[in-house]
Amino acid sequence: MHKAKRVSMYAFLCLAAFVSIFPFFWMIVSATNLSVDVTRGRLLPGAHLMDNLRNLTNSVDIWNALGNSAKISISTTILAMLIASLAGYGFEVYRSKAKDIVFSILLLSMMIPFAALMVPLYRMFGQITNFFPTFGIDTPAAVVIPTFTTAFLIFFFRQSTKMFPRELLEAGRMDGLSELGLFFRIYLPTMKTTYAAAAIITFMASWNNYMWPLVILQSPENQTIPLLISNLGSGYAPDYGLIMMAIVLSTIPTALVFFLMQKHFVAGMVGSVK
C-alpha cells in the first residue's frame, strides 16, 4: 500500500514534468526540421536548423526585432530599478503617516488592468506626438515611459528595505555622507540581491510585453519580438520550422536570465509576498 502510494506520486510528478517540458522539446526539435516533417509529427532532431534560420532571416528582420526588444527591455529595467528603489527606500526609511497614505494610494494602481489604460494612454501619446515626436506614437520611448514605474516594484523594494540594517545609515551619516550619498554609497551596494531579483522580474515582463507595444508601435522597423512572432503565427500557411526558430530565438534571452539567476529569481518572487 505504502509503496503503491510512492509509485503513483512519482508517476504523477513525472507526468507533470513531461507535460511542462514537452512544448519546449517540440519547439526546439521543430526548429531543426522542415515544415513538412513537423506536420507529419516528426519528433526527432533534424538537419535543417540552418535552413530554418536562413529562411527566417530572409523573410523577416528578426535581428532588428531582437535589438528593439533588447533596447526597450534594458532601458525599462534600468529606469524601473532606479525609480522604484528610490521610492521603496524613501517610503521605508523616511516613513511618515502622510507617506504611508500616499503609499496605499499607489498600491491601488495595481488593481488597474492595462486594458483600461490602453485607450487613454494611446490618446495621451497621440498628443505628445504633436510636440515631441521622439516620445510619441510609434517610438520605443513610448513603450518604455508608461510601463517602467510599477507599484509592485516599489512595494517589492519597500518590503526588502525592512530587512536593511539601519545602523549602516547612521554610520554613514557620521562619516558625513549626504542623504543621497547614503542611498548610492551604502544602500545600493548592500541590496545587490534585491536589485538582481527586481531586474529579472522587470526584464522578463518587459521582454515579453505584448499589448502596449501592439497598440503603440506601428511601423515594421520598430517591431518588438512578441509582435513579430504574433505576426508570423497568424499566417494561414505557416512554415513551422521557421516560426519555431523565431520562438526559440526569442526565448533564449529569458531562458539564459532564468538559468543563470535561478536562485535570485525564485527569491524575488517569494520575497514579494512575505
Binding site: S20, M111, M124
Partner: protein
C-alpha cells in the same frame, strides 16, 4: 514596528530630533519618492480620470461628444460585451481553481522530505514561466491544431475516434485556452506554495500522524489553513490576471470561433483599434473590468476571512 522619527534618525539618544532636522528629513523623504509618485499619477491615475470622462462620450477617433449614460446603458444590451464577460467568467471559474489545486497538490508532493529529484521536478514544472505569452500561445495553437500532435496522440491511444476541433469548436476552444493558461501559470503559483510549506513546522504533521490523521485530513486541516494567506494572494493575482486575459486569446483563437473565446480586454482592443475606434465606449467597457476586479478582490478577502488577510 519602527517609527518615523527613529528612521529619520539623530545620532544622539534624544527621542525627538530637532524641529528643523525633522522638517529637512521629511522633505528629503518626499524627494526620494517624488519621481515614482509623479510617474504613477501621470500614467495610471490621470489616464483613469481621462477614461472616466471618455466613458460618457461617443463618436469615432478624436471627434467625441458627451452622451450622458448612454454608453453604460449600451453595456447591458451589447451581446458582444455580454459574451466577452461570460467567457471571461468561465475562464475564471474553471481555470483559477483547477490551477490552484494542481499547484497546491504538486507543491505538497515536492515538499516530501524523502522525495528524490526534487530540484529537477521543481525546475521542470516552473519552466513554462520563462516563455513569453505570445510564444507559448503560438506553440499551443499548433499543438492543438486539427492535425496537430495532441489529436494525433489521442487518436493513437484510441481515446477519441475522430480529431477534436480544439480551436474552432466553441466549447473545445475554451478548453484549449484553459489548458494553455494552466500550463503557463501552475509552476508560478507552485513556487509560492512551496515557500509557504517550508515555513510550516514539520512537528505539526508528526503530531497529526501520531493522532492517526490521514494524508488527506492533514492536507485539509493543516496545510490549507496555514497556507491561507498565500492561497488568498495567489487567487487574487490569478483573478486579476484572468480578468485581463489578452495575449493568449489573441494568438491562439483570435477570439473565435465567432466570439466564443473573446475576453473583455480583447473586446476593448477591438473596439479601439480593430473596429471604428469607438474610444468612448471602449473606456466604458474598461471601467466594467475595473469594477469587477475591485468587487472580486473584496469578496475573496471576505471569503478568506480577515484573520490572516
Amino acid at each position: 514596528m519602527k517609527t518615523a522619527d527613529s528612521a529619520a534618525g539623530s545620532g544622539s539618544n534624544t527621542f525627538r530630533p530637532s524641529r528643523s532636522r525633522r522638517f529637512k528629513s521629511g522633505l528629503v523623504g518626499w524627494l526620494f519618492i517624488a519621481a515614482a509618485v509623479l510617474m504613477i499619477a501621470a500614467f495610471y491615475f490621470y489616464p483613469m480620470i481621462q477614461a472616466l470622462i471618455l466613458s460618457f462620450k461617443t463618436g469615432t477617433g478624436m471627434n467625441l461628444k458627451f452622451n450622458g449614460l448612454a454608453n453604460y446603458e449600451r453595456l447591458f444590451t451589447d451581446t458582444m460585451f455580454l459574451s466577452a464577460v461570460s467567457n471571461t467568467f468561465i475562464y475564471l471559474l474553471f481555470q483559477v481553481p483547477i490551477m490552484i489545486i494542481f499547484a497546491l497538490f504538486i507543491s505538497v508532493l515536492l515538499n516530501d522530505r524523502k522525495l528524490k529529484f526534487k530540484g529537477f521536478f521543481r525546475t521542470a514544472i516552473f519552466l513554462p514561466c520563462i516563455t513569453s505569452l505570445v510564444a507559448y500561445s503560438i506553440v499551443f495553437k499548433y499543438l492543438f491544431a486539427p492535425d496537430g500532435l495532441v489529436n494525433a496522440f489521442l487518436l493513437n491511444i484510441h481515446l477519441i475516434g475522430e480529431p477534436i476541433q480544439w480551436l474552432t469548436h466553441p466549447f473545445w476552444a475554451k478548453v484549449t485556452i484553459i489548458i494553455a493558461i494552466t500550463w503557463r501559470w501552475t509552476g508560478y503559483n507552485m513556487i509560492f506554495y512551496l515557500s509557504g510549506l517550508q515555513n510550516i513546522d514539520q512537528s505539526i504533521y508528526e503530531a497529526a500522524r501520531i493522532d492517526g490523521a490521514s494524508a488527506v485530513r492533514q492536507f485539509f486541516s493543516i496545510t490549507v489553513p496555514l497556507l491561507k494567506p498565500i492561497i488568498l494572494f495567489t487567487s487574487i493575482t490569478s483573478t486579476i490576471g484572468t480578468l485581463q486575459l489578452f495575449d493568449e486569446v489573441m494568438n491562439i483563437t483570435r477570439g473565435g470561433p465567432g466570439n466564443a473565446t473573446t475576453t473583455i480586454s480583447q473586446y476593448i482592443y477591438n473596439l479601439s483599434f480593430e473596429y471604428s475606434s469607438d474610444f468612448g465606449y471602449a473606456a466604458t467597457v474598461s471601467y466594467s473590468i475595473v469594477i469587477m476586479i475591485v468587487v472580486l478582490s473584496f469578496i475573496q478577502f471576505k471569503v478568506a476571512g480577515d484573520r490572516n488577510a
